[in-house]
């Protein structure tokens, strides 16, 4: 196991203890008096109409989609950035091609109107 990640594990446990401890303490201290009115959905006092699972438009999905593509691109660029100092000039040219192809993807999405919030 890699040594330097042990602290990340310890910190994760401590960080999980924070909400667990906080909610546990509040559970012991706070009053528990639920009633039907309190548990209704909060809509500024109005009655809820219709079901919660409203239909969503597809723009949300398209933003997530473009994000996935660029996220993967960023993943590939991080090791390149670290190795960059130890590589000859061609490293720049290759990444230039890589980034330009993906910039083309961005331009395509832009021209297609996928980046418009209607």
């Amino acid at each position: 196991m890699q040594n330097e990640f042990i602290f990340v594990g310890i910190l994760t446990i401590c960080a999980i203890l924070l909400p667990v401890g906080g909610m546990g303490m509040s559970w012991m201290l706070r009053p528990h008096k639920p009633n039907k009115l309190k548990q209704t959905t909060y809509e500024c006092g109005l009655e809820t109409v219709g079901e919660t699972w409203a239909q969503f438009k597809v723009s949300y999905y398209i933003y997530a989609l473009i994000f996935v593509v660029f996220d993967v691109e960023a993943v590939f660029l991080f090791p390149w950035a670290v190795a960059y100092n130890k590589l000859p000039l061609y490293a720049l040219a290759e990444v230039l091609i890589f980034v330009l192809i993906l910039l083309f993807a961005l331009v395509y999405a832009w021209r297609k109107g996928a980046l418009e919030w209607i």
């Binding site: 196991m1 890699q2 330097e4 990640f5 990340v8 594990g9 699972w53 239909q55 969503f56 438009k57 597809v58 949300y60 999905y61 398209i62 997530a64 989609l65 473009i66 994000f67 996935v68 593509v69 996220d71 993967v72 691109e73 960023a74 993943v75 590939f76 991080f78 090791p79 390149w80 950035a81 670290v82 190795a83 960059y84 130890k86 590589l87 061609y90 490293a91 290759e94 990444v95 091609i97 890589f98 980034v99 192809i101 993906l102 083309f104 993807a105 395509y108 999405a109 297609k112 109107g113 996928a114």
Partner: protein
Amino acid sequence: MTEQIVFFIFTIMVLGGGLGVVSTKNLYYAALFLSLSFSGMAGYFIMLNAGFLAAVQIIVYVGAIAILILFAIMLSRKVMTTNEPQTNKQNWLALIVTPLLYLTLIFLVVKVNWPVSSAAPALDVLTQMGAQFLGGYLIPFEVMSVLLLVALVGAIILARDVEKGRE
């Protein structure tokens, strides 16, 4: 000893998450179980001297693919009901085939004498990886950007044109 305990914790996350994905009727829970499984796998990668890959796993799977799946579940939500069975007619066949496959593979895994090396793991994983992306694996690297471009174009056309057709 500690390592084995940590391994078991991650195994519970990975396999428990996987079991949840295939057994729960609620797709929302399935996606959350999937994220749990992915996180456990990131722990595996850290144990296997692949810290960078662990971060990639979290970023791409938990941060992007799980989110994308949740969005897609939301968009096709209307047809999803949790009270009817979620399995199809071949369920019984799958229940027979997959354990058989599992047993066969386990048999192979145990039988083969793996040439385990005892050399120390590489220290400069990141530098090596960057050098390999731009050296030996240059073509896959560049093709990957084309693949991402094609995926984006295809997905936008698929998702948008339908919307236009409905208007």
